[in-house]
Amino acid sequence: MGEHLLEIKDLYVQYNTDDATVYAVNGMNLTLDKGEVLGMVGETGAGKSTTALSILQLLPPKVGEITRGSITYDGTDILNAKAQVMRGLRGARIAMIFQDPMSSLNPILTIGQQIHEVLELHFPSMSREEMDNRVDEILGLVGIQKHRKNEYPHQFSGGMKQRIGIAMALVAEPELLLADEPTTALDVTIQAQILQLMKELQQKHNTAMILITHNLGVVAEFCEKVCVVYGGEIIEEGAVEDVFTREKNHPYTQGLFESIPKLTGPVERLVPIQGFMVDPTNLPKGCSFAERCPYATDRCRAEKPGFYMDGTHGIKCFRYENAKGEA
């Protein structure tokens, strides 16, 4: 089992606030190998970001709590790792790109200083000059002129800031990159550029990556594997080809596909998914999607479905129970 780069097993995360307990992640399982790109799709609040933050142990202190499960990164048990070990992983071996580039850079440090800091933290033996060269190099790679490294974040546009975020994440050449909706806050035209840039850099360094998004198109273009998250658990996973051929899908994934307008073929009415996202403070006993599912039966409401596998394609739905035995 140790051969995977990242392995998340049966992860449960909850947020304890004054008013309620939010069950954000409920039994998440996933594995990722070196160099693999996994797309994680789901609505806002489905638990995608929480999963990513759990991997880095960056859940908000006192509020976010991992109640069950394990996360193993390259043989290291992350949930029981010492703070010092975690610091060695963060930034150096696992890096993260955040959703909002406007607020994720420190406003009073130059961008050069902020990229530099990663090197200072993880490569103490590097000389200043080497570090400077490395910063220049990575800025070049993300398409920012190196003379701008002495400028402050507010002097850059949103897209540029996200490029800086990418530079900061990649400067130490990590093995795993967690990209949490890296383009959601950006203009559509810039989104494509940023994704293209990430793809190039990912291939160049053979970085494994979890790309969190709610855009199915991005996943199809960019990822090898995909998992669909709903109510804090993965309800469908598989190779991009398996999921996107749309022969067999979880009813929720079907719904997602049907709510995207098609550019080819006859114009049809969009079919939205009925109802609202499951209330994470009050999870149902059975399938979390049952309330919104057109195929739901009494069994769905009473009992949680397991994964039904067809090769590497798994779907958590009783409809596929007889397809090929439970995994």
């Binding site: 993260m96 955040f98 994720s104 420190n106 009073i108 800091e117 933290l121 975020g165 900061m168």
Partner: protein, 307 residues
């Protein structure tokens, strides 16, 4: 930069004119003849008329005001109606005491308030946090004159640790400065605490953590510098409060400073002295605020000083 400073200093002029005119106006509207007040109930009509002439009280309000302001522009704040001293000279001789007291007190507030605020923030909702806040609150709720009086009686008179009254070397100023800083201490602690907690929640602190910074590095490099920005701004306002509080403190410890000059002047309605203090302090506060803004601009790259 130079242009900005000049503009800010010029902006002080209407403020000074406004405040002095307001005081001048109500002084002339208020009942009671200053000349009679000075000379006493037994003065004859001739004496009073002579005094009014001497003080220029028979001129219309505007003329008197313009004459006064013309003097101010030449650095002439007039003479005390009661004691006859030159207000400007008296100020200059007393100023060092008030400035020493103010600076020392501000220094104490900053040196104690900011570290306590950091401590409270790091132990948010813990016993240390609550203890710090309650103690700070207790100190700022105590009237400064009461705290000063008690400190004077117990620490100076009974224990003889500090000189009880008067001004001299720095040692004389320690107890008064502590007294003066009690009022602002709680504010400083709370501001620092809230500001740190606010910054702690921001995305870029999470980014720093994701880069592998240790908690200490996060506090020093990312949180503190950002969190202290509002604290810097508060120092300007705080300085003004301190000058107000200095009146009481100077009175308790019998320090011959500018502020205590005010007390007697108020009791006897010594207009030139009261006006002088107001002009002086408002300019002083304005300049301190300008300095604070300059500091702020130096620390925060986002701030552009536009003239």
């Amino acid at each position: 930069m130079g242009k900005y400073i000049l503009k800010r200093l010029l902006l002080l002029i209407p403020v000074v004119i406004g405040i002095t005119f307001f005081i001048y106006l109500i002084m002339s509207v208020a009942p009671g003849d200053p000349a009679r007040l000075i000379l006493g109930e037994n003065a004859t009509a001739e004496e009073i008329a002579a005094k009014r002439l001497e003080l220029g009280l028979d001129d219309p309000l505007i003329v008197r005001y313009i004459n006064y302001m013309a003097g101010v522009l030449h650095g002439d704040l007039g003479f005390s109606w009661y004691s006859g001293y030159d207000v400007m000279q008296e100020f200059l001789s007393r100023l060092p005491n008030t400035v020493t007291l103010g600076l020392l007190s501000n220094l104490i507030t900053i040196c104690i308030g900011i570290p306590l605020g950091i401590l409270a923030a790091q132990h948010q909702y813990g016993p240390i946090d609550y203890t710090t806040l309650v103690i700070a609150m207790l100190f700022s709720s105590m009237p400064a004159f009461w705290f000063g009086l008690m400190a004077q009686i117990y620490l100076s008179i009974n224990l003889k640790w500090f000189p009880a009254t008067g001004a001299g070397d720095l040692y004389h100023f320690i107890l008064p400065a502590i007294t003066l800083s009690t009022g602002g201490l709680a504010g400083q602690v709370r501001l620092t605490r809230t500001s740190i907690l606010e910054v702690n929640k921001l995305d870029y602190v999470r980014t720093a953590r994701s880069k592998g910074c240790s908690e200490n590095q996060i506090v020093m490099h990312h949180v503190l510098r950002n969190a202290l920005l509002p604290v810097i701004t508060s120092i300007g306002g705080h300085f003004a409060t301190i000058l107000g509080g200095a009146i009481v403190t100077e009175s308790v410890f019998a320090i011959p400073g500018v502020a205590s000059l005010m007390i007697n002047a108020v009791k006897v309605r010594d207009v030139p002295v009261v006006m002088g203090v107001i002009v002086f302090i408002s300019v002083f506060v304005g300049v301190v605020n300008l300095l604070v803004d300059l500091c702020y601009a130096a620390v925060d790259p986002r701030v552009k000083l536009t003239a």
